[in-house]
Symmetry: C2
Subunit: 451 residues, 2 copies
């Protein structure tokens, strides 16, 4: 068995892995091998962000069509053909997958399908359909992502008890669905399947959905699910009764690092239940071996994975940069979406902060688009006005949150935001309104407070 040698081997072609491979090439790496067990694109493209948002887009469009008469549009009542939707979704993923393949090719990155395990800190064994090969490299990056994780007492049998991958492969909408876990994944599938005509029950063991989130935002998400017809239970102990009544049970109780088959011990790579240990350059305990993305256990987001992969690749290529990430926007695709960035008011002493709010019901574009539900909230330092955090419940929250994230990163104050020009009419203006409100002088909000 001959061992081919590379400048860099990347294990896993998800957002962290493919981005790292490309950045390594951009930084002058001679040869990069990218090993992927399944399809390039990782969880995000194949079984995560992209397919779920496609389903969300479909049910959101169907709702818009129902209200089209508000624009003088004559149309028939619409319904969603689930198998047709699934086939369109599949097509979209295929198209994106092909795009990713072409992208990797343009950088002359060698993509090989197979399962990798460490032989030493600079060599791996790859098991593919065609047989077993070995490869070595000066630097190796682990970017194998994460897998759905169950809770004690519940086994994902991929039949009645399904995970977030299984649910995307259903061929018909179940009559009843129990969702265990009120995090982002649980919330999104609950809303989507409810809109698709399924009777959904969502249970969460903590006392609020999205337990780590701003309670006010979490409460809005709960109410929006209930409005969609989802039965929501928080603070739930025993599940037996709920399980008995459900045709399918989606176990959305978190994810675990995908490390079991990597044989990390052979390379002396330290890890814990949370993932592979890394330093501020995303280097592991084994010199020359890096880890980024979900497997390193930080963000569990596609975009943090990508950023981490890029940082790891840069370091592997000798350009030392540290892993300090700016405030990370978090988004849940409820109806409307819920987004936040920074540590909210619930994490800060009330005396140190000032909070501003603006409801979309006072925003012109929201009225035009019939998306008047929700609000923007801004949290700023009381003394110097620096923007510290924000949350948005409303249409386009996933784009608008970037404005607040950038304001935090660029150390903008409420006064800076007050002087910033926002196009009118746009939903973005609601961010301006919330900042003005925090300053106690929003001209588009009633005068009770001020007068």
């Amino acid at each position: 068995m001959t061992t081919k040698s590379y400048s860099l081997i990347v294990i896993g072609a998800g957002p962290a892995g493919y981005s790292a491979a490309i950045r390594a090439k951009q930084s002058g790496a001679q040869s990069v091998l990218l090993v992927e067990k399944e399809r390039a694109g990782g969880t995000c493209l194949n079984r995560g962000c992209v397919p779920t948002k496609f389903l969300w887009e479909a049910v959101t469009l169907a709702k818009k069509i129902k209200n089209a008469q508000n624009y003088g549009i004559k149309t028939q009542a619409s319904s969603i053909d689930f198998s047709e939707l699934q086939s369109k979704r599949s097509k979209l993923i295929d198209m994106n997958g092909k795009g990713l393949g072409a992208l990797l090719k343009s950088y002359a990155i060698e993509l090989v399908e197979g399962s990798a395990k460490f032989v030493s800190a600079n060599s791996i064994e790859i098991t593919a359909v065609s047989g077993v090969t070995t490869a070595s490299a000066e630097k190796i990056l682990i970017a194998t992502g994460s897998l759905p994780k169950s809770i004690p007492g519940i086994e994902i049998d991929h039949n009645k008890f399904i995970d977030s991958t299984d649910i995307l492969n259903l061929t018909e909408v179940p009559k009843t669905l129990l969702v265990i876990g009120g995090g982002a994944i649980g919330v999104e599938f609950s809303g989507i399947f409810s809109e698709l005509g399924c009777e959904v029950t969502l249970v969460e063991k903590e006392n609020q959905l999205l337990p780590l989130e701003d309670p006010e935002l979490a409460e809005e998400v709960k109410k929006s699910l209930q409005k969609q017809g989802v039965a929501v239970f928080t603070g739930v102990g025993t599940l037996d009764e709920h399980i008995a009544k459900a045709q399918k049970v989606l176990v959305a109780t978190g994810r675990k690092p995908n490390i079991e088959t990597l044989n990390l011990e052979s390379a002396g790579i330290k890890y814990s239940k949370k993932g592979i240990d890394t330093d501020s350059h995303f280097e592991t305990s084994a010199k020359g071996v890096y880890a980024a993305g979900d497997v390193a256990g930080y963000g569990l987001y596609a975009y943090t994975a990508q950023a981490e992969g890029i940082i790891a690749a840069s370091n592997a290529m000798g350009n030392k940069i540290t892993s300090e990430l700016p405030p990370i926007p978090r988004v849940v695709f409820s109806t409307p979406p819920a987004a936040s960035v920074g540590a909210g008011e619930n994490h800060r002493p009330a005396g140190n902060i000032v909070v501003g709010r603006f409801p979309f019901s006072a925003n012109s574009m929201a009225a035009i688009e019939a998306s008047r539900a929700g609000w923007v909230k801004i949290v700023a330092n009381k003394e110097n006005g620096r923007i510290l955090a924000g949350s948005i419940f409303g249409a386009d929250a996933h784009n608008l949150i970037t404005i607040i994230a950038l304001a935090i990163k660029q150390k903008a104050t409420l006064a800076d935001m007050s002087r910033e020009m926002f196009f009118h009419p746009s939903l973005a203006e609601a961010v301006h309104g919330a900042c003005e409100d925090a300053l106690g002088k929003c001209v588009d909000l009633p005068g009770k407070k001020q007068v």
Copy 2:
């Protein structure tokens, strides 16, 4: 005739006027009189931004419904009932108008319907249905906005030759429409009426649509109109032939300050064809008299008018602030919308700048939303990487442009933007991609340039 006295009189209840009146109250003004000849809300609410965007939203939704089968949605072909659309539009404006009325009331601002003219620098005469009254004030703000302006040889008869107000009041879609003027107003109505089934011809005397805009963006707008079926002619000299063939002619050749009936001479207020002269505090040549919004001739946008009104009111109330406005985003609601901010590459020496681009065809959310047309372009200082300008042709451009505007205002560099976290999948990521491309290292774009 008794003369009632106020701390501040504001003439005109559009974005500049109503915002100034409220800010004056927020700043401690005892009594504020707001005089409005027509309905509160000005051009923007009643005959400008809001109604046109509502029509745009309607035709955009109708297009989405046509493509709903791409999401497995079964629905009938849709059509727009124009009179129904007009009635919904009217309802929306009424609702917003009522909201504005309640807002003014919450600040105890006296709103009077009538036409104002100056008697002196601190008194006006108001002609209302109920008769003529006079009012005086320490400070007066002129915020009377602007009116549609024709070109030599063409008279707006409100019958065949109509302006942007008339076109909103049409009771049926004309068979053929000639639009004179390829600025924002002309472009928007051309696209909307084409989608409504009208045969539209758009003529512009300059060699590009949106003559002051980035030529690349203007070219995209032209192509998108042509795709919608609009016949576009630029560099047009004589109009006779076009006019002869058209059932209706929309004259969209600019706007003029609304000052004719104000009797400015009696107060010693200087003005030109462009509008009322003001200093950096928006004070006119007459001490204590201010002017803001379209009538002062700067931006001719609702949001700059609002900002100017607020600055003028602050100064009138004794809080000296200058009129320095940050970069102003410009948006045209073509399909998709076109937005820009800052002076683009066509205004800068090529050697001093670096330009980055990202196409929405490489953005995941654009694929999900079926809005893969368009791109983001970023212009930065070559030496220090400071973001100088940007343009966006694509869905949600009117919101996304805020990100670039804020980056410019907060002196962000390409490196700052590179480290900024953008939620995935979101259209906003395309801004990140363009910045990465400017740095020559975008991992989501093919490697030709870099490898």
